[in-house]
Amino acid sequence: MKRIALLLALLALGLAGCGGDDEEGASDTLTVYSGREEELVAPLFERFEEETGIDVEVRYADSAELAATIAEEGDNSPADVFFAQDPGSLGAVQDRLAELPGDVLERVDERFRDGEGRWVGTSGRARVVAFNTDELSEDEVPDSVFDLTDPKWKGKIGLPPTNASFQAFVTAMRLDVGDDRTRQWLEDLAANEPRFYEKNTPVVEAVAAGEIQLGLVNHYYLYLVKAEQPDAPVENKYLPGDDPGALVSVAGVGVLDGAEHEDAALRFVEFLLADEQQRFYTEEAEEAEIPLVEGIEPKEGVPTLDELAGRGPDVDLSSFGAELERTLELLNETGYTS
């Protein structure tokens, strides 16, 4: 027992030692809640620290769980910045976000930011149909998600019904063609017995393995899967025209209202939208998201914003938060999430 007590005392001391450094600088340290994966965005934080000398502390977790955390924390949130995976999470805490200055907002096209300026997109992600290149050529892949209800795709389609980006796509379809037609599409697609996956990555992996032939996902998961299996026979098809399946959504950032380090927080948002950081998505980031600032080219093979400009449904991303409940009801009623 005594030995155990001694060991514990040592452990506690060790921990106090580890924590010591952080305590001193706490008062001028920027606190970021990041729903974006550490593996993908950690280099951005490091660069910011180097460039500005401002220390950053990052709490990584799921975007929606962080949104729930911010909501529970209320006015006592230690977070200065919320860096999220999707407009829905940002929309969920929009009442807690401060309005961003105009010059920051204007870096990005108004399609990709909150109508009232409370959050701004930092990188784009396009919905695509991932297909197995051993089984299909790009031309054989339908040009519209509405053609996926053709019986010839029975059992060959995969999608992640509980994933936020899939749900955002269904919201876009509802806003574009209405609830009735969306419900019809969901029912017809369900009759084609699609396979359900928990997240985007397993869908792309399943396409690569030939388990299914087509997957409804965001464009950049392809690159993550190829990093793990370079020869995987899978590619993306970007759907043409104003098909809902060509939606472009964003990851984005907002500054908390009453943030203790408001200046540093704003600097961080500006930093994310500076040309150099936008180029990060083209040059360094494995997942190849689409830069949102005019004039920065995306990675080869990924369409530019101009190329995507005329495509996809004409919908307001900042309304997605409020529309989500209806989308979930529809998915539930048509058997996708129950």
Binding site: M1, I4, L7, L8, L11, A12, G14, L15, C18, G19, D22, T31, E37, E38, E39, L40, E57, V58, R59, Y60, A61, D62, A64, E65, A67, A68, T69, A71, E72, E73, G74, N76, S77, P78, G88, S89, A92, V93, T162, A164, Q167, F196, Y197, E198, T201, E205, A206, A209, E211, L224, V225, A227, E228, G321, L324, E325, L328, N332, T337, S338
Partner: protein, 524 residues
């Protein structure tokens, strides 16, 4: 034969106060849920009466029942084979079969999928197009059984070793075959330990999210997480969590009832039992032990090894994360054991309706999924205990809230085995109740306290959802490291932290599975 009881007088305040304080803190998540559900009663009721909710309740109940049944079957059979028969290599099987306890259930699910899922190792090995699906009920059952049957195995093995073999030997000398002796004599005596093990299994299954999510089985926890994750809506999530609490209460009530039917035999003398000779059943018994260890330990180990080999050039030894995991878990283990002692002593030595209720209440929050506990502590700490928020202390507290029942199970099993006579003697000689507890009871039940603390340690090492939201910023544990890497699909790099987690936990399982090994004659 009755259980001897002490302290028929009033329970001393020095025990009542800490016990009540501990239980009150444990009930914080419940208070939070009621607060959230009450925020919008109308909607709450609508969620409750949805057809879907009934289906979720049913599918969760079915899973809990099946996992408990499978875990009890495997746990009891392996425990009996390795303590009471001459199955070859019984000491080895006893430890090896308990080892899956160290595999976090989400890692177990990843491994089972990696082995038997689409594109898994087995499919590659056989070169076939498609295997029968693992997703859904069967996959969830397999992964959860893997993670939970060791609880039954450990508790029942300890009980078997502590059991006076005289009764069994008498039955055998009357010519009863081993299986009959087991069924008619051993099994009834094991009821309390089986009940306690089954309770831990059921509560674990109720609260688990990782497995049901990866295996895509619609259980209540998955629905609760989906509400938080996609709807940002806390009322329906709270209502569903309260349904889970109700289910937990039902499980606790069932377990209490099964305890009541047990006749307590006097502890007697614990000594090494003479082993049953299995004869021609020796080899089938060996094959059975090998199959259990093969399926539940070797399969995950092979998959992790394969992933590690594939990414060995990119692997980094997670030393800092290992230190964080070990220290937070060790603090949690000590805190949970300390908090469990007054609750357990009160319930065992001052039996009354309210002390038993207090003890049951301590279990109530245990089946809540990690996210609910995390968000409730976020709410209370951020708004009412600012300096504690996002501190290591709060994280340790969250572990205690989640895993205290495991410490209770350990302490209670020892308290039941140690009669209160020595304590009565100490009281008669003028020691106060607190001094008696500290100088007599605690040293006597030390093995149980240590076992309970070890169980808490193992669980805290694996904990993920509460760790993610409550850890101090920058505090990385092995579990968060595994989460970070698997969430971008980088299994080859996640294998090393998973193996380190397993390696650091393994000695504790060895300790748990070898305790109570009686020497030739030891007085119980």
């Amino acid at each position: 034969v009755t259980r001897p009881r002490a302290g028929r007088g009033r329970a001393p305040l020095s025990l009542v106060l800490p016990a009540c304080a501990a239980v009150a803190l444990l009930l914080l998540p419940l208070a939070y849920l009621l607060l959230r559900a009450a925020g919008d009663v109308g909607r709450g009721l609508r969620v409750l009466t949805r057809e879907n909710t009934l289906e979720l309740l049913w599918s969760t109940g079915v899973l809990v029942g099946a996992v408990t049944l499978a875990s009890v079957t495997i746990g009891v059979s392996v425990a009996w084979l390795t303590t009471r028969t001459d199955v070859p290599g019984r000491r080895f099987w006893a430890v090896a079969a308990a080892l899956p306890l160290v595999i976090p259930s989400y890692v177990a699910a990843f491994c089972l999928l990696g082995a038997f899922g689409p594109r898994g190792l087995l499919q590659q090995l056989l070169g076939v197009e498609r295997l029968p699906g693992i997703y859904g009920f069967w996959g969830a059952l397999a992964a959860l059984t893997l993670s939970t049957y060791p609880y039954v195995l450990l508790l029942v093995s300890a009980a078997l070793r502590g059991l006076d073999p005289a009764l069994e030997e008498a039955a055998r000398s009357l010519g009863r075959p081993p299986l009959t002796v087991f069924r008619r004599v051993t099994l009834p005596a094991l009821r309390p330990s089986i009940g306690a093990g089954a309770l831990l299994v059921a509560l674990y299954t109720l609260s688990d999210f990782g497995v049901v999510s990866l295996m895509r089985y619609d259980a209540l926890t998955r629905a609760i997480y989906l509400q938080y994750r996609s709807l940002f809506d806390r009322t329906p999530a709270a209502v569903l969590a309260l349904v889970l609490v109700a289910l937990t209460a039902a499980v606790l009530w069932l377990e209490s009832r099964s305890r009541r039917r047990v006749a307590h035999t006097a502890p007697g003398v614990a000594r090494r039992a003479r082993l049953h000779e299995l004869g021609r059943w020796r080899w089938p018994a060996l094959a059975y032990c090998a199959a259990v260890v093969g399926a539940f330990l070797a399969v995950p180990a092979v998959v992790l090894g394969y992933w590690l080999a594939r990414g060995v050039d990119r692997a980094e030894l997670p030393l800092r994360e290992a230190l964080s995991s070990v220290s937070a878990s060790a603090l949690a283990a000590v805190a949970a054991a300390v908090a469990a002692i007054p609750i357990a002593v009160l319930a065992a030595r001052y039996p009354a309706r309210w002390t038993r209720l207090l003890e049951r209440l301590a279990f109530l929050g245990n089946a809540l999924p990690g996210i609910v506990i995390a968000l409730s502590l976020v709410f209370f700490a951020a708004n009412y205990a600012g300096p504690l928020y996002q501190s290591l202390a709060l994280l340790v507290f969250a572990y205690v809230v989640r895993f205290l029942p495991q410490a209770l199970a350990g302490v209670e099993s020892s308290l039941a085995a140690v009669g209160p006579r020595v304590e009565e003697a100490a009281r008669a000689l003028g020691r106060g109740p607190l001094a008696t507890a500290a100088t007599v009871t605690v040293p006597l039940i030390r093995p149980g306290i240590l076992a309970g603390a070890a169980l808490v340690f193992l669980s805290a090492m694996k904990e993920l959802p509460a760790t993610l939201l409550l850890r101090p910023i920058g505090f990385e544990t092995l579990a968060t490291e595994i989460w970070k890497l698997t969430s971008v699909g980088s299994y080859s790099r996640a294998a090393l932290p998973a193996l380190v987690l397993i390696a650091l936990s393994a000695p504790f399982v060895w300790f748990l599975s070898s305790r109570h090994e009686p020497t030739e004659v030891e007085h119980g």
